[in-house]
């Protein structure tokens, strides 16, 4: 039993920390700190910055041009990125499609797409959920019918995150409607320029735009765009769900959020005293701090296990459930700390009468936006179903 990092891991942490200190442009960290939406240009520049250093494909093995990091190194990188207020790496191409192509793609597909993911030439988005198939993904209905050398796709995808920036989409489509739902699904790559595709933005609860609906009407896609065999899409989807979950707990983000809430509590005054001096509010912070401290260890324990066994186990669903709840609690505390000062709609012009301290103008919006975390990526209820089967064996 030894909770310390190895000298090599500590040196790696120093390396990452100084990289961010020296290279992360201030406009990026400022934007992340303020919690608003990031522009495509900013995300592209961030990816390019990491790519130049060879650190963009954080989960990629060396043979595919990645850094070949261990789970612990990825964890350290993630923590340091959060600490530096670096943007989040957009995961759809880098962390979701890329591992699928490495495992199930043909050599041609790997050679065609992987370099373009790293270079930023392709921006991928995800076509999984449908209006009638969210947590119950297997019930998806978007049809792909083979016609000569093509598939013809009809249907609708939704919750397509950052699809407005994308030029390509990877989709789960139904290729056989006459078998058990899981058996008739395929995984296919689609160029968003193909005629018949329409992307419409969805305005979110807090007023922001980050997700879209995608409509497919007689969209012809070359059959060579299929990944894996026809009807093995569910296997790929499951692989994707369990493959890359080292950051699922969001520990780095929550650690940063905790520091922000504490700083906020020391700033906000009520009746001549700061909120940090209010025992009720201080108790709320202390409680979530304790839960986060435990979460850090739970995360490391599971990382350690994943590193030893070569793959994360089903217990990582615990990280998703508890990690998202802790993150939401912290966003809730920030919003509550502001009281009525959280009320102005983001972007309101108050001039020098600004209510919230700098970088906290979006705290209510962030709170509302963050409610998504217990819903997406397999809702927390789906995670409980998974744990019921795998860990409790009920």
């Amino acid at each position: 039993m030894d909770l310390s990092f190895t000298p090599e891991e500590q040196a790696f942490r120093e390396e990452v920390r100084s990289f961010f200190a020296q290279n992360l442009p201030k406009d990026m960290s400022d934007a992340v700190r303020a919690g608003g939406e990031l522009t495509k240009d900013m995300m592209d520049r961030y990816h390019a910055l990491l790519n130049e250093r060879g650190w963009l494909g954080t989960t990629w093995p060396k043979e595919f041009g990645g850094p070949g990091w261990s789970p612990v190194q990825r964890h350290i990188f993630e923590e340091e990125a959060c600490r530096a207020y670096a943007p989040r790496i957009v995961p759809f191409g880098l962390a979701m499609l890329a591992p699928v192509l490495m495992k199930f793609g043909t050599k041609e597909q790997q050679e065609e797409y992987l370099p373009r993911i790293l270079s930023g030439e392709d921006w991928w988005c995800q076509g999984y959920s449908e209006p009638g198939a969210g947590s119950d993904l297997a019930s998806l209905k978007t049809r792909a019918v083979r016609d000569g050398d093509d598939y013809v796709i009809n249907g609708q995808k939704t919750w397509t995150t950052l699809g407005q920036h994308a030029n390509r989409i990877f989709c789960l489509v139904r290729t056989d409607p006459d078998v058990k739902p899981q058996k008739g699904i395929s995984f296919i790559l689609v160029d968003l320029d193909t005629p018949g595709i329409e992307m419409r933005p969805i305005k979110l609860i807090e007023g922001g735009y980050e997700v879209n609906e995608v409509f497919f009407t007689d969209v012809r896609v070359p059959a060579s765009n299929l990944v894996g065999e026809e009807n093995m899409g569910w296997t790929i989807a499951k692989f994707l769900l369990t493959h890359e979950r080292t950051n699922i707990a969001g520990v780095g983000f929550s650690m940063q959020a905790l520091e922000e809430v504490k700083a906020l509590a020391r700033t906000v005054k009520r009746g001549g005293k700061t909120l940090a001096e209010d025992p009720l509010f201080a108790a709320r912070i202390a409680q979530v701090e304790i839960d986060l401290e435990a979460m850090k260890l739970t995360n490391l324990r599971m990382l350690y296990k994943a590193q030893k066994q070569g793959a994360p186990g089903p217990e990582t669903s615990i990280l998703k459930i508890k990690g998202t709840v802790i993150g939401q609690e912290l966003k809730d505390l920030a919003r509550r700390a502001l009281g009525p000062s959280a009320a102005p709609f983001p972007g309101s012009s108050l001039g020098n009468l600004a209510l919230a301290p700098a970088d906290h103008e979006n705290d209510a919006a962030r709170y509302f936006n963050n409610r998504k975390t217990s819903i997406f990526g397999g809702s927390n209820e789906i995670q409980r179903n998974i744990l019921t089967k795998t860990m409790l064996e009920l």
């Binding site: 310390s4 025992p279 201080a282 979460m295 324990r301 615990i318 409790l392 009920l394």
Partner: protein, 353 residues
């Protein structure tokens, strides 16, 4: 980073777990734990022989352990079997004797039973409110005051007592024979005592003892947290069997989503409880020991209550019976919160830090 036990600790863990499972099963335990003297002398001797006490002290003090992980290995095994033997007192006494660089061979061999009296009726947890007082009497000392709910006090040969000497906290040794000791059994099994001291002859063990007492409290907290983790895990196993076999309208109740999801939440909290206990054990003896011990005890208090109450609820009527082993696990998980600082007390310590 390494989350595996060393070979030695794994062996100790296996040895104790196997012994308790074979020789101190829950039926035996339930008899012993609720009848005076609320422990079994033969079991005490056997556990001492297996090294359960030597593991609590470092080599320089005559033991073979003494780190947070040695302590947590022993107490997790004890917790899994709901063992009522008064080992917490031995641990806290050993910490104090180590701080005092005093001989503790009789403690570690199990020949002499120690209990530690720190808490008082109106100061159950906080050192700063301790009222008991000592004064010099010839070449020795006399102590007056009441030490409340002294765990293991019902069978202790020697008490180590925290009292003020010229206003400063000090530790004194009091022989059970010289003091008024009123032993009693506890609702969750095992025993304790009210220790009333009135100019009772005492031997000074350690002056300026605040840091040593703090360390004994932290070590005790790590032990209790590990004991709770052991009890939670044991509890889990029984509950799952029940969920798989108990039927309602012809369906095993474990097939009902409402119970499945609650069971998963219990599992999640058990993992969190284990994590924070590992952290507290790792920090024991270091500069942040108090902070992490408090974090652990707070989380254990919350998780213990969730698991105990949910387990009772999910089992239904059977969990309300004395006969059902789960009831005794639930009682221990609830009452452990009141030992050495409860959820709120430790939360306020984390807040203050």
């Amino acid at each position: 980073m390494d989350f595996d036990l060393t070979e030695d600790r794994q062996m100790l863990s296996d040895t104790l777990t196997r012994y308790l499972k074979d020789k101190y099963p829950i039926e035996t335990r339930t008899k012993v734990a609720y009848e005076a003297p609320f422990h079994a002398p033969a079991q005490w001797d056997a556990l001492a022989e297996l090294g359960a006490l030597f593991a609590l002290a470092p080599e320089e003090a005559g033991g073979f352990g003494g780190t947070g992980f040695d302590i947590s290995v022993v107490f997790e095994a004890l917790g899994g079997a709901l063992c009522p033997e008064p080992i917490l007192g031995a641990l806290q006494a050993s910490r104090l004797l180590t701080s005092a660089e005093a001989d503790q061979e009789a403690l570690l061999s199990g020949a002499t039973k120690y209990a530690v009296g720190i808490g008082e009726l109106e100061a159950p947890y906080e050192l700063e409110s301790i009222q008991a007082e000592a004064r010099a009497a010839g070449s020795d000392y006399q102590v007056s005051g009441r030490k409340s709910v002294v765990y293991g006090g019902q069978v202790a040969d020697i008490f180590l007592v925290a009292a003020r000497l010229d206003g400063e906290l000090a530790v004194f040794e009091v022989s059970a024979a010289d003091a008024s000791v009123t032993g009693f059994g506890m609702i969750d099994g095992g025993g304790a005592a009210e220790l009333v001291l009135e100019d009772t002859p005492a031997r000074l063990i350690l002056k300026d003892a605040e840091a040593a007492l703090e360390d004994a409290m932290n070590a005790g907290v790590v032990a209790l947290c590990a004991e709770a983790v052991g009890a939670m895990d044991g509890r889990k196993v029984m509950k799952l069997e029940y969920l798989r076999t108990r039927k309602e309208v012809g369906v095993p109740i474990g097939k009902f989503k409402v119970l499945q999801h609650r069971a998963v939440d219990m599992l999640t909290e058990i993992e969190q409880a284990r994590s924070i206990t590992i952290k507290a054990a790792a920090e024991l003896g270091g500069p942040d020991a108090a902070r992490y011990a408090s974090m652990a005890k707070n989380l254990i208090g919350r998780a213990g209550r969730l698991i105990a109450e949910e387990a009772i609820q999910m089992h239904g009527g059977i969990a309300m019976t004395w006969e059902y082993p789960g009831s005794h696990y639930a009682k221990r998980l609830i009452m452990i919160d009141a030992q050495l600082g409860d959820t709120d007390y430790h939360l306020s310590r984390v807040m203050a830090a």
